[in-house]
Symmetry: none
Subunit: 143 residues, 4 copies
């Protein structure tokens, strides 16, 4: 199945609602489709200039590796040299911090990814999951 | 002054409302701030993969040259070699087709740019202007 | 729907069978999925080194713009400055010569693209279509 | 001597047969010639998007350094700063994990490389060697 713009916008709204409810720092949030191409993006007032690039790299890394960046960041700690070379091999389209979360349909198939940047990685990831939940999709990692 | 996310989202909504009113092909629309950094983006269902890159390059070119890409495209026809070198010099962050439209405040200062891709350049530019108008901003080019 | 490796390999076999039947020059052929990511590739003995890059750029351009590169090449003739800037905006992931052919399912949805390079653009495109036909998919352009 | 497409396809078939026999995760496998240019590639259904880039970087690194990436990964652990600079110097065309395996003729001359990505590096490398063996070539590293 294919992620729609309406679903992506619901995810962004849900992500930012969570961010404001917990008084997070200003965030940027991007939603990619199953091929890691942008569907929707928003950067809150006050979020710094590179938040777009970092949010996108988190989402691309999650979609490209089919795993949340929280998981990838843990793996990278144990094998930094390999993951540095992966970063170069994919042209920088990956970021090793929580906040890149895969979106799966009911069958478990990857249909996209959300990337969030602005606060701590853990907060970013929580907000991303809130956005995915708002659109009614399963989450990669349950708390 | 600084473009807010709320204003950028109003511009995207206004752009896509115009597109649907005239039955345009599926569009991608991006809003950049005064520093040419993304504030908001949306790609309609059915818009092809490269629409993000092209919409962004239109908006970046407009912000980067402080002129609508409709104007830049005309200039480029008369001096293609120079504008090809500009394209290379800015790393591809410019696209010579209408649809990149500068956003100015009441004093005429550049505060951002909208980029649209998906239909003809003229249609793209009309939709971008409709979005800017929806947010209450002056337009670069009056009809 | 998703293109499978088995289908992609059938397309490659069909493309190269057509090439040998018409005694074409040695070809390279790539099959991409709906997100423009590689699924399968083959370079015939004697095909030159850059055939991989050119075949891939044809297929990426077709998938990225949702149109055969034969069509894109015609459009580019009428507006070279714009399409040169598109080439830069997408980082070179497009090639303006026939041989990049979109793959559509029965509903007309893009599910991938085939790119062929080695002989004339017209021959390359014919071979690509033969490969897509071998896998039972509709073709973008009927003769 | 020169690696043929038929040999490369035999290596891919042999690699994937080994992968299925041991129930490995979905793999991507690439075969490069002596100049590190792609000859053949296949990505199994379910393998993530970046598997192409990582498999290719493993094979390129092996061909480029004339050594299996299992060896290079060990060296890199002892001198990460140097190998990070190598990664940058070669534009990311190397990946420090097992799975990039050189192909040699009977005289020991490098004639190509296989790169595999998708499971653990050790499993990837075992599958790559099975593919090279299927084509009748000597292996770099005997167990």
């Amino acid at each position: 199945m294919t992620l729609t713009l309406a679903q992506a916008q619901t995810m962004i709204t849900g992500t930012l609602a969570e961010a404001r409810a917990r008084n997070a720092k200003p965030l940027a949030v991007i939603v990619l489709d199953a091929g890691a191409h942008p569907v929707a993006f928003a950067r809150e007032d006050g979020a710094s200039l590179y938040r777009f690039d970092i949010a996108r790299a988190k989402a691309e890394g999650a979609a490209g590796m089919d795993a949340d960046t929280a998981v990838l960041a843990e793996r990278a700690k144990g094998n930094p040299t390999f993951f540095q070379s992966v970063t170069a091999a994919v042209g920088g389209r990956i970021a090793f911090s929580p906040g890149g979360v895969v979106i799966r349909d009911a069958a478990g198939t990857l249909i996209g990814a959300v990337g969030v940047s602005g606060d701590t990685g853990e907060c970013d990831a929580d907000c991303a999951r809130a956005g995915i939940r708002a659109a009614g999709y399963l989450q990669e990692q349950q708390p």
